[in-house]
Amino acid sequence: MLLETRNLTVSMEGKTILQDISLRFAEGKRTAIIGPNGAGKSTLLRALAALHSDYRGEILLDGENIRRIGRKRLSQRLAVLPQNVQAPPDTTVERLVDYGRFPYRSWFRSSDAKADREAVEWALFVTRLEEFRQRQVLSLSGGERQRAWIAMALAQRPKILLLDEPTTYLDIAHQLEVMQIVRQLYEEYHITVIMVLHDINHALQYADEIAIIKNHGIFGQGPPKEMLTVDTLAAVFGVKADIFINSRGDAILSPISIVK
């Protein structure tokens, strides 16, 4: 399933947030959207998820304009995990994940109970939360909680998963856990992942494709090794960086100083 923007322009209260963005997010790939603060990354992700609909241009899902796809039908194909989520204090993991089945339910028709249960069990299995199903979401650690929210998105059985800075506020072990789940979704279940990432090195290790947004426009799109270089870091973030090779042979970028 292919997600694509054509000449996407977003302005809010007279200010341009995104200008003329044309991007293709290929099927079965993990794309990381990176860029400086305020560049418009989150707005782009929100527009892709149809959370923000006040834009010019087009967003196409398999060639179909997402404005013309019904809200619930879209949520069956594309799941999003925004940054600001909340749940009532007594919500259990299982109930939260079950909310992911909402797009399959309607006022008139009760859903297919078997399909619901299978989707919930699968989501709990993938995020390794089976033991936690009766726990309250708020009683979990940050990493477990983030996995619970990802499980809810997975219960939607999406082809495309959109994540807005999924590792923010997590410690390094939990960050790794979340990124490994993302890898597994892609490798085993062939879910297309589009994520806004803060951490350049996560993008380098866990993405197949990088889209860099700068000054409300596209700076470039391409494979990580080409896009994430010392030169682009200087041009996009204004930092001078060194490259190291870690024990697994991965390149690691380490910012050294600010360049003017």
């Binding site: 929100r46 998820a49 149809a50 959370l51 006040d54 809200r71 619930k72 039908r73 879209l74 949520s75 069956q76 799941a79 999003v80 995990l81 925004p82 600001n84 989520v85 909340q86 749940a87 009532p88 204090p89 007594d90 919500t91 259990t92 299982e94 109930r95 079950d98 909310y99 992911g100 909402f102 797009p103 339910r105 006022w107 009766q134 998105a153 939607q156």
Partner: protein, 328 residues
């Protein structure tokens, strides 16, 4: 959903239902004339006779029914508003129901005192007009809960000034208006029950149909949208349901406060936040609370009858402070 949790909630619903039955029996048995249970039973079966039956069928029973319906309406309205405003302190006062109904009702009472029958319908329109007004004022690229609350405060202050002005201009007739401002069920009878019950039935059904949507709304607007919920539409239509429920209650019982705040919270503490259970729970509990409180208000200080609004405020104000300390 674990089976044990569901069982616990069903048991609680059963307990609330029993409590309501107890409140109902107590409310029709107690008063200036005590009526024994056998006579109540016979009268309800249509086999009674005499004075006691008259009191039961024309005074106690309709008043108790009105109390129950008012309790259901205000509790459901509060429960819905707490979900859509995502504010634990939201209740029907906030969306302007009370001030709108207050000004309209008091206008009739003071300016057209011989047209008493007008109070209920006019108060109803006042409530709906105020709610609509607040909604329009709060609208700016969609609805944000905080703007509704602030617009509600502003409109309420404005309408409150109107109420005060009316009461000063017509200070000789203020007594009946005061009783109404406090909220009471004195002399409520079958016509009032007939006004309110269609709204109770329709409101309850619409609220229960919307329960799953209210659950999703509690996950935050963005997540709710991402799950395919039409957030604005849900918020608008559920506000309308809450406004109808509360406006019909206010128009028969006056400005009865705290029920819509207290009952949904108490129900939530016991049953949790799943609206599929919370809404029926709040309805049953609200019914019981208002019937008990009204019985107490009628009998505790006999021969003086207190408006039930005073009892609710005495219970409700400390509860409000408790919530404030606990949640904010």
């Amino acid at each position: 959903m674990s089976r044990r949790e569901t069982q616990r909630r069903m048991l609680l619903l059963g307990a609330f239902a029993l409590l309501s039955c107890a409140g109902f029996v107590l409310s029709i048995a107690k008063g200036s004339v005590e009526i024994p249970l056998e006579e109540i039973w016979q009268a309800l079966l249509g086999a009674g006779g005499g004075m006691h039956e008259q009191i039961l069928m024309n005074i106690r029973l309709p008043r108790t029914i009105v109390a129950a319906l008012v309790g259901i309406n205000l509790s459901l309205s509060g429960a819905i508003l707490q979900a859509i405003m995502k504010n634990p302190l939201a209740d029907p006062h906030i969306i302007g129901i009370s001030s709108g109904a207050g000004l309209a009702g008091i206008f009739v009472m003071l300016v057209l005192p011989e047209q008493g029958w007008l109070i209920t319908p006019v108060a109803f329109f006042g409530a709906m007009a105020a709610a609509l007004c607040i909604y329009i004022l709060a609208w700016k690229n969609g609805i944000r809960p905080i703007r509704i609350i602030l617009a509600g405060v502003a409109v309420s202050a404005f309408l409150g000034a109107g109420i005060s002005a009316l009461m000063i201009f017509y200070s000789d007739r203020v007594h009946s208006a005061l009783m109404w401002m406090v909220g009471g069920l004195s002399a409520r009878s079958w016509p009032h029950a007939e006004i309110i019950y269609p709204y109770t039935v329709a409101g309850f059904l619409l609220a229960v149909f919307g329960a799953r949507h209210l659950n999703i709304l509690q996950l935050g607007d963005e997540m709710a949208k991402g799950l395919g919920l039409r957030v604005e539409l849900t918020r608008l239509s559920m506000t309308a349901v809450a406004a109808l429920l509360a406006a019909s209650a206010v128009s028969v019982s006056g400005l009865l406060g705290f029920v819509g705040l207290m009952v949904p919270h108490a129900a939530r503490l016991m049953m949790g936040s799943d609206y599929r259970f919370l809404l029926p729970g709040a309805a049953l509990l609200g019914m019981a609370v208002v019937m008990f409180s009204d019985t107490f208000a009628r009998t505790a200080f006999a021969p003086v009858e207190l408006p039930v609004g005073i009892i609710m405020a005495v219970l409700g104000a400390p509860f409000f402070l408790f919530l404030l300390r606990r949640e904010l």
